[in-house]
Protein backbone atom coordinates (compact mmCIF):
# COMPACT_ATOMS: atom_id res chain seq x y z
CA UNK A 1 0.00 0.00 0.00
CA UNK A 2 1.37 3.39 -0.88
CA UNK A 3 1.52 6.20 1.63
CA UNK A 4 -1.18 7.97 -0.35
CA UNK A 5 -3.45 4.96 0.05
CA UNK A 6 -2.62 4.85 3.76
CA UNK A 7 -3.67 8.48 4.07
CA UNK A 8 -6.97 7.60 2.38
CA UNK A 9 -7.35 4.69 4.77
CA UNK A 10 -6.73 6.95 7.72
CA UNK A 11 -9.35 9.41 6.53
CA UNK A 12 -11.79 6.54 5.98
CA UNK A 13 -11.11 5.20 9.48
CA UNK A 14 -11.62 8.67 10.96
CA UNK A 15 -14.89 9.12 9.05
CA UNK A 16 -16.08 5.70 10.11
CA UNK A 17 -15.21 6.46 13.72
CA UNK A 18 -17.41 9.56 13.48
CA UNK A 19 -20.17 7.49 11.83
CA UNK A 20 -19.92 4.97 14.66
CA UNK A 21 -20.22 7.73 17.25
CA UNK A 22 -23.29 9.11 15.47
CA UNK A 23 -24.80 5.65 15.21
CA UNK A 24 -24.24 5.06 18.92
CA UNK A 25 -25.84 8.40 19.77
CA UNK A 26 -28.81 7.84 17.45
CA UNK A 27 -29.42 4.24 18.49
CA UNK A 28 -29.27 5.08 22.20
CA UNK A 29 -31.41 8.16 21.53
CA UNK A 30 -34.02 6.02 19.76
CA UNK A 31 -34.04 3.51 22.62
CA UNK A 32 -34.25 6.38 25.11
CA UNK A 33 -37.25 7.90 23.30
CA UNK A 34 -39.06 4.58 23.54
CA UNK A 35 -38.17 4.35 27.24
CA UNK A 36 -39.68 7.82 27.78
CA UNK A 37 -42.86 6.70 26.07
CA UNK A 38 -42.95 3.57 28.23
CA UNK A 39 -42.56 5.70 31.39
CA UNK A 40 -45.30 8.12 30.24
CA UNK A 41 -47.70 5.29 29.51
CA UNK A 42 -46.94 3.54 32.81
CA UNK A 43 -47.47 6.76 34.74
CA UNK A 44 -50.77 7.35 32.92
CA UNK A 45 -51.93 3.78 33.42
CA UNK A 46 -50.91 3.37 37.06
CA UNK A 47 -51.73 6.83 38.42
CA UNK A 48 -53.98 8.84 36.10
CA UNK A 49 -56.34 6.09 34.91
CA UNK A 50 -57.41 4.51 38.23
CA UNK A 51 -58.28 7.97 39.62
CA UNK A 52 -60.06 9.02 36.43
CA UNK A 53 -62.21 5.89 36.14
CA UNK A 54 -63.05 5.74 39.86
CA UNK A 55 -64.28 9.31 39.57
CA UNK A 56 -66.23 8.41 36.42
CA UNK A 57 -67.81 5.40 38.17
CA UNK A 58 -69.05 7.67 40.93
CA UNK A 59 -70.42 10.28 38.49
CA UNK A 60 -72.09 7.70 36.26
CA UNK A 61 -73.69 5.87 39.19
CA UNK A 62 -75.13 9.21 40.24
CA UNK A 63 -76.44 9.76 36.69
CA UNK A 64 -78.13 6.34 36.71
CA UNK A 65 -79.71 7.12 40.09
CA UNK A 66 -80.95 10.48 38.77
CA UNK A 67 -82.36 8.87 35.58
CA UNK A 68 -84.12 6.20 37.64
CA UNK A 69 -85.64 8.86 39.91
CA UNK A 70 -86.81 10.88 36.87
CA UNK A 71 -88.45 7.80 35.37
CA UNK A 72 -90.08 6.88 38.68
CA UNK A 73 -91.47 10.41 39.11
CA UNK A 74 -92.86 10.26 35.58
CA UNK A 75 -94.44 6.85 36.18
CA UNK A 76 -96.20 7.89 39.41
CA UNK A 77 -97.49 11.01 37.66
CA UNK A 78 -99.87 8.73 35.72
CA UNK A 79 -103.58 9.57 36.05
CA UNK A 80 -106.55 7.50 34.90
CA UNK A 81 -107.35 10.18 32.34
CA UNK A 82 -103.82 10.95 31.21
CA UNK A 83 -100.62 8.94 31.02
CA UNK A 84 -97.54 11.05 30.24
CA UNK A 85 -94.96 9.47 27.98
CA UNK A 86 -91.93 7.91 29.69
CA UNK A 87 -89.99 7.32 26.45
CA UNK A 88 -87.55 10.14 27.08
CA UNK A 89 -86.83 9.08 30.68
CA UNK A 90 -86.37 5.44 29.68
CA UNK A 91 -83.92 6.45 26.95
CA UNK A 92 -82.01 8.65 29.42
CA UNK A 93 -81.82 5.71 31.86
CA UNK A 94 -80.65 3.35 29.10
CA UNK A 95 -77.86 5.76 28.14
CA UNK A 96 -76.82 6.32 31.76
CA UNK A 97 -76.66 2.55 32.40
CA UNK A 98 -74.65 1.99 29.20
CA UNK A 99 -72.25 4.74 30.26
CA UNK A 100 -71.87 3.14 33.71
CA UNK A 101 -71.22 -0.26 32.14
CA UNK A 102 -68.54 1.28 29.97
CA UNK A 103 -66.81 2.76 33.03
CA UNK A 104 -66.95 -0.63 34.80
CA UNK A 105 -65.39 -2.26 31.73
CA UNK A 106 -62.65 0.40 31.61
CA UNK A 107 -61.84 -0.15 35.30
CA UNK A 108 -61.36 -3.86 34.57
CA UNK A 109 -59.22 -3.08 31.50
CA UNK A 110 -57.00 -0.71 33.48
CA UNK A 111 -56.39 -3.47 36.04
CA UNK A 112 -55.71 -6.01 33.29
CA UNK A 113 -53.22 -3.76 31.49
CA UNK A 114 -51.35 -2.86 34.69
CA UNK A 115 -50.06 -6.44 34.70
CA UNK A 116 -50.04 -7.13 30.96
CA UNK A 117 -48.09 -3.98 30.13
CA UNK A 118 -45.34 -4.86 32.62
CA UNK A 119 -44.94 -8.20 30.85
CA UNK A 120 -44.91 -6.53 27.42
CA UNK A 121 -42.21 -4.09 28.60
CA UNK A 122 -40.14 -6.96 29.99
CA UNK A 123 -40.36 -8.72 26.62
CA UNK A 124 -39.51 -5.50 24.77
CA UNK A 125 -36.37 -5.02 26.89
CA UNK A 126 -35.36 -8.57 25.91
CA UNK A 127 -35.47 -7.59 22.24
CA UNK A 128 -33.33 -4.45 22.71
CA UNK A 129 -30.77 -5.59 25.29
CA UNK A 130 -28.18 -6.70 22.71
CA UNK A 131 -28.48 -3.49 20.71
CA UNK A 132 -28.14 -1.41 23.86
CA UNK A 133 -24.89 -3.23 24.71
CA UNK A 134 -23.56 -2.90 21.17
CA UNK A 135 -24.47 0.79 20.85
CA UNK A 136 -22.96 1.69 24.20
CA UNK A 137 -19.99 -0.33 25.45
CA UNK A 138 -19.13 -2.20 22.25
CA UNK A 139 -19.31 0.92 20.06
CA UNK A 140 -17.12 2.75 22.57
CA UNK A 141 -14.54 -0.06 22.36
CA UNK A 142 -14.69 -0.03 18.55
CA UNK A 143 -14.19 3.76 18.53
CA UNK A 144 -11.23 3.47 20.89
CA UNK A 145 -9.76 0.77 18.68
CA UNK A 146 -10.14 2.93 15.55
CA UNK A 147 -8.58 5.86 17.36
CA UNK A 148 -5.56 3.76 18.34
CA UNK A 149 -5.20 2.54 14.75
CA UNK A 150 -5.40 6.08 13.36
CA UNK A 151 -2.87 7.37 15.89
CA UNK A 152 -0.46 4.54 15.10
CA UNK A 153 -0.85 4.98 11.34
CA UNK A 154 -0.35 8.71 11.56
CA UNK A 155 2.77 8.18 13.64
CA UNK A 156 4.01 5.67 11.05
CA UNK A 157 3.34 8.09 8.18
CA UNK A 158 5.16 10.90 9.94
CA UNK A 159 8.25 8.70 9.95
CA UNK A 160 7.79 7.01 6.59
CA UNK A 161 6.68 9.82 4.26
CA UNK A 162 9.98 11.71 4.14
CA UNK A 163 11.95 8.54 3.47
CA UNK A 164 9.86 7.43 0.50
CA UNK A 165 7.05 5.41 2.11
CA UNK A 166 8.46 1.92 2.41
CA UNK A 167 6.07 -0.80 3.47
CA UNK A 168 7.33 -2.09 6.83
CA UNK A 169 6.41 -5.73 6.28
CA UNK A 170 6.97 -5.98 2.59
CA UNK A 171 4.01 -8.28 2.12
CA UNK A 172 1.26 -6.77 4.22
CA UNK A 173 -0.09 -3.25 4.10
CA UNK A 174 0.95 -0.65 6.63
CA UNK A 175 -2.60 -0.59 7.90
CA UNK A 176 -2.68 -4.33 8.40
CA UNK A 177 0.74 -4.61 10.01
CA UNK A 178 0.13 -1.68 12.35
CA UNK A 179 -3.54 -2.18 13.10
CA UNK A 180 -3.36 -5.97 13.44
CA UNK A 181 -1.46 -6.01 16.76
CA UNK A 182 -3.71 -3.24 18.11
CA UNK A 183 -6.82 -5.27 17.24
CA UNK A 184 -5.30 -8.37 18.86
CA UNK A 185 -4.47 -6.37 21.96
CA UNK A 186 -8.09 -5.12 22.16
CA UNK A 187 -9.47 -8.61 21.65
CA UNK A 188 -7.24 -9.96 24.42
CA UNK A 189 -8.51 -7.20 26.74
CA UNK A 190 -12.09 -8.04 25.78
CA UNK A 191 -11.52 -11.71 26.57
CA UNK A 192 -10.07 -10.85 29.97
CA UNK A 193 -13.05 -8.58 30.68
CA UNK A 194 -15.53 -11.19 29.51
CA UNK A 195 -13.86 -13.85 31.67
CA UNK A 196 -13.96 -11.42 34.59
CA UNK A 197 -17.63 -10.63 34.01
CA UNK A 198 -18.43 -14.31 33.70
CA UNK A 199 -16.61 -15.06 36.99
CA UNK A 200 -18.42 -12.16 38.66
CA UNK A 201 -21.78 -13.42 37.38
CA UNK A 202 -21.02 -16.91 38.68
CA UNK A 203 -19.92 -15.50 42.03
CA UNK A 204 -23.10 -13.42 42.23
CA UNK A 205 -25.39 -16.38 41.49
CA UNK A 206 -23.78 -19.40 43.13
CA UNK A 207 -27.05 -21.36 42.99
CA UNK A 208 -27.39 -20.98 39.22
CA UNK A 209 -26.99 -24.43 37.66
CA UNK A 210 -23.92 -25.00 35.51
CA UNK A 211 -24.78 -25.26 31.79
CA UNK A 212 -22.92 -28.58 31.56
CA UNK A 213 -24.83 -30.11 34.43
Amino acid sequence: MSNQADVHSIEALKSFRVALALFSEDALGALGAVESEIRRTLQWLQHDRPLYWQDQLKRRRERVATAKADLFRRQIAKRPDSSPSTVEQKEALRLAEASLQEAETRVRLVKKWETALQQAIFEYHGTTRRLKDLASSDAARAMALLERMVDALEAYLRVEVPSGGANPSGTTTALESIAGPILEEFEATDQIEETGESSTRQAESPTEPNARE
Binding site: A5, H8, S9, E11, A12, L13, S15, F16, A19, L20, L22, F23, D26, A27, G29, A30, L31, A33, V34, S36, E37, I38, T41, W44, L45, R49, Y52, W53, Q56, E102, R106, L109, V110, W113, A116, L117, A120, I121, E123, Y124, G126, T127, T128, R130, L131, L134, D138, A139, R141, A142, L145, M149, T172, T173, L175, E176, A179, G180, L183, E187
Partner: protein, 79 residues
Amino acid sequence: MPNANVIAGSSRLKHAIKSLQDQWRITESTWNDSVRRKFEERHLAPLDPAIDSALLGMAKLAEILSQVRRDCSDRSEMP
Protein backbone atom coordinates in the same frame (compact mmCIF):
# COMPACT_ATOMS: atom_id res chain seq x y z
CA MET B 1 -52.92 3.50 15.28
CA PRO B 2 -49.46 2.42 16.43
CA ASN B 3 -47.79 4.62 18.96
CA ALA B 4 -46.23 7.57 17.12
CA ASN B 5 -43.26 8.12 19.46
CA VAL B 6 -42.18 4.49 19.32
CA ILE B 7 -42.52 4.48 15.55
CA ALA B 8 -40.37 7.63 15.46
CA GLY B 9 -37.74 5.81 17.55
CA SER B 10 -37.90 2.89 15.17
CA SER B 11 -37.41 5.19 12.14
CA ARG B 12 -34.46 6.87 13.85
CA LEU B 13 -32.88 3.48 14.42
CA LYS B 14 -33.35 2.42 10.78
CA HIS B 15 -31.80 5.68 9.62
CA ALA B 16 -28.90 5.27 12.06
CA ILE B 17 -27.97 1.79 10.85
CA LYS B 18 -28.33 2.81 7.19
CA SER B 19 -25.95 5.76 7.67
CA LEU B 20 -23.45 3.50 9.40
CA GLN B 21 -23.67 0.88 6.65
CA ASP B 22 -23.21 3.56 3.96
CA GLN B 23 -20.11 4.86 5.71
CA TRP B 24 -18.80 1.33 6.15
CA ARG B 25 -19.05 0.71 2.40
CA ILE B 26 -16.87 3.77 1.83
CA THR B 27 -14.41 2.57 4.49
CA GLU B 28 -14.28 -0.91 2.97
CA SER B 29 -13.14 0.46 -0.37
CA THR B 30 -9.88 1.69 1.17
CA TRP B 31 -9.42 -0.93 3.86
CA ASN B 32 -9.33 -4.47 2.63
CA ASP B 33 -7.25 -6.73 4.80
CA SER B 34 -7.57 -9.30 7.56
CA VAL B 35 -7.80 -6.62 10.26
CA ARG B 36 -10.79 -5.06 8.51
CA ARG B 37 -12.48 -8.44 8.27
CA LYS B 38 -11.87 -9.13 11.97
CA PHE B 39 -13.11 -5.68 12.89
CA GLU B 40 -16.25 -6.21 10.80
CA GLU B 41 -16.87 -9.63 12.29
CA ARG B 42 -16.31 -8.42 15.85
CA HIS B 43 -18.03 -5.03 15.84
CA LEU B 44 -20.39 -4.75 12.85
CA ALA B 45 -21.79 -8.18 12.08
CA PRO B 46 -23.62 -8.43 15.43
CA LEU B 47 -25.44 -5.15 14.71
CA ASP B 48 -27.83 -6.46 12.04
CA PRO B 49 -29.55 -9.15 14.13
CA ALA B 50 -29.60 -6.79 17.13
CA ILE B 51 -31.26 -4.06 15.05
CA ASP B 52 -33.79 -6.52 13.58
CA SER B 53 -34.68 -7.77 17.03
CA ALA B 54 -35.08 -4.24 18.40
CA LEU B 55 -37.22 -3.10 15.46
CA LEU B 56 -39.47 -6.11 15.88
CA GLY B 57 -39.75 -5.39 19.61
CA MET B 58 -40.54 -1.73 18.95
CA ALA B 59 -43.27 -2.59 16.43
CA LYS B 60 -44.89 -4.97 18.90
CA LEU B 61 -44.57 -2.49 21.75
CA ALA B 62 -46.09 0.31 19.64
CA GLU B 63 -49.16 -1.83 19.00
CA ILE B 64 -49.48 -2.66 22.68
CA LEU B 65 -49.10 0.94 23.83
CA SER B 66 -51.77 2.01 21.33
CA GLN B 67 -54.04 -0.76 22.56
CA VAL B 68 -53.52 0.37 26.18
CA ARG B 69 -54.45 3.96 25.23
CA ARG B 70 -57.55 2.77 23.37
CA ASP B 71 -58.70 0.41 26.12
CA CYS B 72 -58.17 2.79 29.02
CA SER B 73 -59.28 6.10 27.53
CA ASP B 74 -62.70 7.64 27.71
CA ARG B 75 -64.40 8.04 24.32
CA SER B 76 -64.38 11.80 24.84
CA GLU B 77 -60.56 11.69 25.25
CA MET B 78 -59.91 9.81 22.02
CA PRO B 79 -58.56 11.92 19.14
